[in-house]
């Protein structure tokens, strides 16, 4: 259950709003980082990838502020019920967002290496599509958070399947390229890590969506979350080519 009415102590309301505003700010920065990182990869834009690497610092600092504020709120206000769940979820969501920021930064770093190699055909646009999907999931998860919308949160959880499928397809594609020509291996390994990291961002967006459900209902979603990453069981031999 969530309660929209105001606290008697108005400072408590302001504190809770402030900490949630930090989450939204973090979310905005992470969305931009993902978008820019994918664009830099496709357009082989070193300058833009450098910008992404530098912007991660602000995300890390926000995560630290969220943790400090959450600790202060717990110590001074002893939050209960939905207030308690708000504080617990902002802490988890900030961790999720911080990880996404790290992945975007990692993507930007690898872009710095990849620009010096000949491009793998079709890989960068596919990765950019995947990044766009994840960015959209993240945006919707945070919208669901602000609106306390469990329906939207569930939608996000189910969209993760698409990201997993995109990753599976890329995984097979990279294997094929590597088997075709060993000179592709370095680039494909980097691209594979990028794809894997974007797939992980999708998991973090899903985790945020689950936090929204916990925040609004007091319980974590019971149905197992849909999983579509099958690469851990994939073996591709020469006969598959």
């Amino acid at each position: 259950m969530h309660n929209d009415s105001k606290h008697i102590a108005s400072a408590f309301d302001r504190d809770l709003e402030a900490i949630q505003a930090m989450i939204m700010k973090m979310g905005g920065l992470v969305e931009v980082a993902i978008k820019d990182a994918a664009q830099a990869l496709e357009e082989r834009d070193v300058e833009l990838s450098e910008k992404v690497r530098l912007s991660d610092k602000a995300i890390d600092q926000l995560e630290e502020s969220v943790n400090e504020e959450a600790a202060r709120l717990i110590a001074l206000r002893s939050p209960t019920a939905s207030d308690l769940r708000t504080v617990l979820t902002v802490m988890k969501i900030s961790t999720n967002l911080e990880r996404c920021g790290d992945y975007a930064k990692n993507l930007a770093k690898r872009t710095g290496v990849l620009v010096n190699m000949s491009p793998i055909e079709g890989a960068a646009p596919s990765i950019r599509r995947m990044a766009r999907e994840v960015e959209e999931m993240l945006r919707l998860a945070l919208d669901a958070y602000i609106q306390r919308d469990t329906g939207l949160a569930n939608e996000v959880r189910h969209r993760d399947l698409d990201v997993d499928q995109m990753y599976n397809a890329l995984f097979r594609e990279f294997l094929t390229y590597m088997m075709e020509d060993p000179r592709n291996i370095t680039a494909c390994m980097h691209l594979h890590f990028i794809a894997k990291n974007i797939e992980r961002m999708g998991d973090h967006a899903t985790s945020i969506a689950e936090q929204v459900i916990y925040l609004t209902t007091g319980e974590m979603p019971e149905d197992a979350r849909p999983k579509g990453d099958v690469t851990s069981q994939t073996a591709l031999g020469a006969e598959d080519l």
């Binding site: 309660n3 009415s5 008697i8 019920a81 319980e219």
Partner: protein, 265 residues
């Protein structure tokens, strides 16, 4: 560091000690308690919370018929202690109150020695055969009240000379001296400092081994700390009753949520 268990305050007893059904209380024309049904478990601390005037103290006082002393007060419905109706005509309220002891908001020791404060109840209920018996009862009660070590050398000193926190523990010792089965506490810590409050709370937790404790408190944190079951009263209704953990993490009723999170309902 090798104990990784979190101390959970589960209810380990499922026997019902007090069962209230459709209880109504009227003060003259005022309907103070409306249709309250509640099952209070044995060897469990049950907290009653709610805003002032919600009826929690009134309901508590029904449980040992303290409301009998108010002329205009009328109680309807059934309250069963171990399956027996405490409002039955054959029940002697004095005997009932020996079984269902009470501790009040402000410590109220008798203007007598520490020893006589404790010995008073057992004497009038004839619980001791001789002086040695009585000494034993007094020591046991003071130990249960977690105050024995502080007063054992001055049992003849007046009870009123103790500090507030000590006086309250003396009153709790006095209440347990008659071997009650249920202990009712009406805001037992509201006149105490935080340290004395923690001592009394620790004591309440120990008392749970032997008694069923019902505590009325304005401190939500206290209810969360000491109780296993919590009942939320509002405008004479019992709005929500459940495991304390559930009430404080995920209350089901909006009024409970508003109250415990400090919102205007």
């Amino acid at each position: 560091m090798n104990d990784m268990r979190i101390v959970r305050k589960d209810v380990d007893m499922n026997d019902t000690k007090i069962s209230a059904k459709k209880v109504q209380v009227f003060y003259g024309d005022t309907h103070a308690i409306k249709d309250v049904d509640v099952e209070i478990k044995d060897k469990t601390v049950t907290a009653f919370i709610g805003p002032s005037g919600c009826g929690k103290s009134t309901f508590l006082r029904c449980l040992n018929r303290m409301n009998d002393t108010i002329d205009i007060c009328r109680v309807e419905g059934n309250i069963l202690l171990d399956g027996e109706d405490i409002y039955d005509k054959r029940v002697d309220p004095v005997q009932l109150r020996a079984k269902v002891g009470m501790v009040f908001q402000r410590p109220n020791p008798f203007p007598k020695s520490i020893y006589d404060n404790i010995a008073y109840g057992p004497r009038i209920h004839g619980l001791a055969k001789n002086k040695a018996d009585l000494d034993e009862i007094v020591e046991k009660a003071l130990r249960r009240g977690a105050i024995w070590d502080e007063v054992k050398d001055r049992l003849d000193a007046p009870g009123t000379g103790l500090s507030g926190g000590q006086q309250q523990r003396l009153c709790i010792a006095r209440a347990v001296a008659t071997e009650p089965e249920v202990l009712l506490m009406d805001e037992p810590c509201s006149a105490l400092d935080p340290i004395a409050t923690l001592q009394v709370e620790e004591l309440i937790d120990e008392l749970r081994e032997n008694f069923s404790v019902v505590i009325v408190t304005h401190s939500m944190q206290q209810a969360a700390r000491v109780s296993q079951k919590t009942a939320f009263f509002h405008l004479g209704n019992l709005v929500e009753y459940g495991d304390t953990e559930q009430i404080f993490t995920n209350p089901q009723d909006e009024r409970t949520e508003s109250y415990i999170t400090g919102r205007i309902g």
